[in-house]
């Protein structure tokens, strides 16, 4: 039996509303809010990045896991906004939590699914008996180009999971990955902002892979949507995961606890991982959770989790995702947001 031993979330407290962004670009806020089913998104402070958020989320996961960090055999950070292009986020994280030097570390990249990639690798290593515990984090502080549709949703957050064989809060029953080469959204080396294929990012990209992975996962596990208590999809905006649920036959009630995007935005590699932490925060022992991530380029990772009794003992050991999402918020004006996100050209 392999699964999640501890989990933790981190969301910065700054927010910016859709109206505030739309005002600057002369766009129609109500239609963005309706079209994206989005109200506001999180914004990292200038002193926050993928590494800092990963550290805090991982410390929370350690609190719930109750293990000695020196027993962590692998640390993976998945992001598309690693602070360094060369020098892993994982080494800083591993050092900060006290897992060094006896640890394997790697940084992962696959657009928005880099977090679940790390989760897949960490749990596989545990399953293979190669390590006792593995830590995987999905974290991002991604940028949307000014005035582009993605600027409304590109947000910041992190979720960390420690995998092991004992003291599980959620057993991993199975995994399945679905991958093709699909150029829906990309960023070339040395470019500051990503680019995307507009409407091409919908059916041939997000929906094809989400449904492909979901169906593949359910076929492999011989399960159907009604068997699950909850489902978490990657959430680039509010609409896509709801529509994916409709296509596949899930109810809104199954999606709701993990559906954070309307007030969080798209935390990219943190997106479905944070949806999972939010779901674990309210799930009951015995609940079955299907998680399907999506990363442009493209691919989806599917996981089936079964919640254990231990969740009730440890969920209170660290802040709940809903608290991080909705409490202690600090709203920014566009000018401060642009300053924080380094969109303003300064002197050399």
């Amino acid at each position: 039996m392999v699964g999640i031993v501890g989990y933790g979330a981190y969301i910065p407290r700054n927010r910016i509303k859709v109206e505030e962004i739309a005002k600057v670009w002369g766009a129609d806020a109500p239609s963005y809010k309706k079209g994206l089913m989005l109200e506001e998104k999180s914004v990292p402070s200038p002193d926050q990045d993928t590494i800092t958020m990963s550290v805090e989320a991982s410390k929370r996961a350690l609190k719930r896991a109750g293990i000695d960090p020196r027993e962590i055999g692998a640390v993976y950070v998945g992001s598309e906004s690693h602070p360094y292009a060369v020098k892993p986020s994982g080494t800083v994280l591993a050092e900060a939590i006290g897992a060094t030097p006896d640890v394997h570390t790697a940084d992962l990249e696959f657009a928005c699914k880099a977090g679940t990639e790390g989760m897949f690798i960490a749990l596989s290593l545990v399953q293979a008996g190669a390590i006792k515990y593995g830590l995987a984090v999905g974290a991002d502080t991604s940028q949307g180009a000014p005035g582009d549709a993605l600027e409304y949703s590109a947000a910041a957050g992190a979720a960390a999971f420690i995998f092991g064989k004992d003291g599980l809060v959620a057993e991993t029953l199975d995994t399945y990955s679905y991958t093709t080469d699909t150029p829906d959204f990309w960023r070339r080396e040395y470019q500051y902002y990503p680019r995307h294929g507009g409407r091409f990012t919908g059916d041939p990209a997000y929906f094809k892979h989400i449904t492909g992975a979901a169906r593949g996962m359910m076929d492999k596990a011989k399960m159907k949507p009604a068997d699950f208590d909850y489902v978490v999809f990657h959430q680039p905006n509010g609409k896509f995961p709801l529509r994916a649920g409709e296509i596949l036959g899930f109810t809104k009630k199954q999606i709701e606890p993990g559906w954070l995007v309307p007030r969080l935005g798209n935390t990219y590699s943190g997106s479905s991982p944070l949806g999972l932490t939010a779901t674990l925060d309210i799930a009951k022992p015995g609940n079955l959770i299907l998680v399907v991530s999506y990363g442009s380029g493209a691919g989806s990772d599917g996981f089936i989790f079964k919640v254990t009794k231990r969740i009730d003992e440890v969920r209170g050991s660290a802040p709940l995702t809903a608290v991080l999402l909705d409490q202690n918020k600090n709203y920014l004006e566009y000018g401060v947001y642009a300053k924080y996100r380094r969109k303003i050209r300064k002197a050399e």
Binding site: R13, S45, P46, D47, Q48, D49, I51, T52, V55, E56, K59, P83, Y84, V92, E95, A96, G98, N328, N330, K346
Partner: protein, 130 residues
């Protein structure tokens, strides 16, 4: 602005708050030292600082030193942690109007500074209100 090796040398303190507890008198040295400032003792055992405390004093720096030019204005403070150790750090995620002597704070891992766009990124601890 530290150099890569000066930064790296203090990582156990900056990342993990590793300190030394004097075996003679119990005084906690942060960063660790060779000589206890209280009793002159030379033997220490490793320990870690408490993760929370309260502000003894604070200010808002509006005229920054060169490496912090982009960050001003920012709040800094000295907090007495729950283990009695006094620590200096920035205070973040805190409206300036909330700053007061006695404010409860905890320590969070943040970016402290960086050497321009191409240099090393310097991480460390900062205070956030509890």
């Amino acid at each position: 602005m530290p150099t890569p090796s000066r930064y790296w040398r203090e990582i156990p303190q900056r990342y993990r708050l590793e300190a030394g507890k004097c075996q003679s008198c119990g005084f906690i040295c942060f960063p660790p030292r060779l000589v206890c400032p209280r009793c002159g003792g030379r033997e220490f055992e490793p320990t870690r600082l408490a993760g929370a405390g309260q502000l003894l004093t604070y200010t808002i720096i509006r005229v920054p030193p060169a490496p912090f030019e982009d960050q001003a204005p920012y709040a800094v403070g000295i907090a007495e942690l729950d283990d009695g150790v006094k620590l200096t750090a920035q205070v973040v995620d805190c409206d300036f109007s909330r700053l007061r002597v006695g404010l409860r704070v905890s320590l969070e891992f943040r970016k402290v500074s960086e050497e321009g766009n191409a240099g090393v990124i310097y991480y460390g601890y900062k205070f956030v209100p509890e």
